[in-house]
């Protein structure tokens, strides 16, 4: 999103240039009270670096965990978080919103 000056893509490109393995997670759909709109991005590396966000901090850990698998296999994933999903409690999406996050490897 143009309104964000957080240059997540720039950071991801920089990490890639440094030889890191990088995945990008993007909010693709939200329902109810989700803190970050569609298009919000989180970049993660296999080494554990994080930039940007896909929520208010509730699900970043779970997304980063899923991103490890995508970085290993190269296969993208579509993750669903929300109150209808028992994982919401696991990962602590206490705000009651629901969102879908697309995770892809930068490769």
């Amino acid at each position: 999103m143009s309104e964000s000056t957080e240059d997540v893509l720039g950071t991801a490109a920089q990490w890639l240039a440094e030889g890191e393995t990088v995945a990008i997670a993007t909010v693709v759909e939200t329902w109810g009270s989700s803190p970050r709109p569609p298009g919000s991005r989180l970049a993660v590396t296999a080494s554990g670096r994080l930039a940007g966000s896909v929520s208010g901090g509730c699900i970043e850990g779970a997304v980063a965990e899923a991103a490890r698998e995508t970085m290993r296999t190269g296969a993208p994933q579509l993750l669903d978080f929300g109150i209808s999903d028992e994982r919401a409690w696991e990962v602590g999406l206490a705000c009651g919103g629901r969102l879908t996050v697309f995770v892809e490897k930068l490769a």
């Binding site: 309104e3 964000s4 000056t5 893509l9 720039g10 993007t26 298009g39 993208p76 892809e104 930068l106």
Partner: protein, 238 residues
């Protein structure tokens, strides 16, 4: 996303070209509109997403695609390289504005006072005409000086810019309104000017005034109710 596509996306951003990244969510297949050939329905969705500056998911042949617009930054044109501008400009950057400061007074508009910011020393009407404010542009005049502010407002009022703010008291603005009327601007056009500029938060210091201006910019851009207030001209008439 391939590194090559990431590089193309970042190149488009650097060139301030509006583009949309299209992703088929089933397998991650991607293309970049308008550089790549995209099916008609996706092209339409890309245009709509860019116009509304909002990402969305659309279905094409039963497959969901994520349409992610990447617009160039919003623009903020500041007329008057004054003290308040020095507070306003650095605060506008993290809000996503690309800032240009116009002031023909070279002693004010210096790189030392505005490090890394685009500065123009031509007369405000010429500078504004060259910058061609569009619907993603905000214009704020800060000089208090009619011979600098008025020509800039004249161009701004004839542009589709989404925000026009003018520093100065109600009294100053009443005189300004009279001058703008003489220049041929109608009431509806003049009512576009937010004056006194900024939300009413009793701002005193330059950073506080900058905060009130930027809060008003965000409120107008996001359609917040507090941005809709009586037109300045009507207030004067009352």
């Amino acid at each position: 996303m391939t590194p090559a596509l990431l590089a193309r996306l970042r190149a488009a951003q650097a060139a301030k070209q509006p583009v949309a990244l299209l992703t088929r969510l089933s397998d991650g297949h991607q293309c970049l509109w308008p550089e790549d050939a995209c099916p008609g329905a996706l092209a339409e969705a890309a245009q709509a997403a860019l116009r509304e500056d909002a990402a969305r998911t659309v279905a094409l042949d039963g497959e969901p695609w994520f349409v992610h617009p990447h617009n160039p930054p919003l623009r903020l044109i500041v007329v008057g390289a004054v003290h308040i501008a020095q507070a306003l400009v650095p605060m506008a950057l993290p809000l996503g504005f690309a800032v240009t400061v116009i002031d023909p007074r070279r002693a004010w508009a210096t790189a030392e006072r505005f490090p890394g910011i685009a500065l123009r020393h031509d007369w405000p009407d010429e500078a504004m005409a060259a910058l061609a404010p569009d619907s993603r542009t905000a214009v704020v005049t800060l000089t208090h000086d009619p011979k600098l502010d008025d020509p800039a407002l004249d161009v701004a009022l004839r542009s589709p810019c989404f925000y026009i703010g003018a520093l100065g008291s109600r009294r100053t603005h009443a005189k300004r309104v009279a001058r703008l009327r003489e220049m041929g601007h109608g009431e509806a056009a003049i009512a576009r000017i937010h004056a006194p500029v900024g939300l009413a938060i009793e701002a005193v210091t330059a950073p506080e005034i900058a905060l009130s201006i930027l809060a008003e910019l965000v409120a107008v851009r996001r359609g917040a109710a507090l941005a809709a207030r009586a037109a300045p001209a009507a207030e004067q008439a009352a």
